[in-house]
Subunit: 176 residues, 2 copies
DNA sequence: TAAACTGAGTTTAGACCTAAACTCAGGGGG
DNA sequence: CCCCCTGAGTTTAGGTCTAAACTCAGTTTA
């Protein structure tokens, strides 16, 4: 007879919908709502930290994806859209901002209307060297209250969840 | 000797940072990145479904929070901000849109500059009755490939994670 | 009782995203 | 050789959010 874990806000939301709309299936809330909240906490924390370091989350996502891609460290806008999980239009805007900031460059073709490849400048690489380690250390602290065993259990369950979601997998991700 | 789970994109990202920035702690990625991706998949799916039903995610979040709050089904903007985990400014804008759509009303005070309480109209309640059940059924299907045992394990680990994050708890949530 | 304070709500500027329309470059038919 | 098609990239309109400045109502204080 293991002790029940203390109830939290997601449990309260399940109860509230059971009360307001009897008969609807509320079981997914325990997973979906908590994932939503955790993502919000991580996202807010990351935004604050990066703001202090002078970058925004979207730009760092772009630069990180290029850096992680490995040699030759160049990606087309379409590849970036797949890896970053945003629309091509969003990539156009991210690249435009990053170019203005001197963090990436584009090679174009023909009249120059279309970008062909995007790659980091020295300044972009320097920014990554300066920021990513701090970010990973901060996030390590955020999840540090979970024992390594619990953390690995959670990671494995999330991997299983994502595999079934048909969402982001190795396809379209880093490492062409 | 349990079989290793198949590698996914998050594993690849861990490897890539180990290669690019040797020495940085990459263990948090297995949890943080997968939670981020899962939230993105759930969020995109919810946005698409709700767009078909003629609502947007932010408005449904507002209406749901009011409905779940129970009697007297009224909340101040500040309470709503806490429960929805967005800034008060965002609540002002959400309420303004919902008022224009006829889904909620406001009671004001004095010159009418400040809202005091926000509550659902009949149209707002009808929209919830029409939409929430469909949404929960759809999300139940999304996580349906996990066995109930795995789902509960995942929910428990996420509850533990959130408790340690000091993030959303019972405080400021539903239930007055 | 009037000035200052405090806290809740609102406004605004700026960032970011999506969806849909638009624009080229390159590759077939005719 | 030219027209059209297709696909990748870009533009634009519209919506959402945050952070910081601003505005009141009610309260404290002298």
């Amino acid at each position: 007879m293991a002790a029940e874990p203390p109830r939290d806000g997601a449990d309260a939301i399940q109860d509230a919908w059971r009360r307001e709309l009897p008969g609807v299936p509320v079981e997914s809330i325990g997973v979906v709502t908590r994932i939503w909240w955790a993502a919000k906490v991580f996202g807010d924390e990351r935004r604050r930290l990066l703001a202090n370091l002078g970058v925004d989350v979207a730009t760092l996502d772009l630069l990180s994806t290029l850096r992680r891609s490995g040699p030759p460290y160049r990606m087309s806008p379409g590849e970036l859209a797949g890896a970053c999980m945003v629309t091509r239009g969003a990539i156009t805007q991210r690249v435009e901002r990053a170019v203005r900031a001197g963090l990436v460059e584009r090679t174009t073709v023909g009249s120059g209307y279309h970008a062909r490849a995007v790659f980091l400048t020295d300044a972009g690489n320097a920014l990554l060297d300066r920021v990513v380690a701090d970010l990973l250390v901060a996030e390590d602290r955020l999840v540090g209250h979970l024992s390594p065993e619990r953390r690995d259990q959670l990671a494995d369950l999330l991997r299983e969840l994502l595999a079934g979601l048909g969402g982001p997998s190795l396809t379209g991700q880093v490492g062409d």
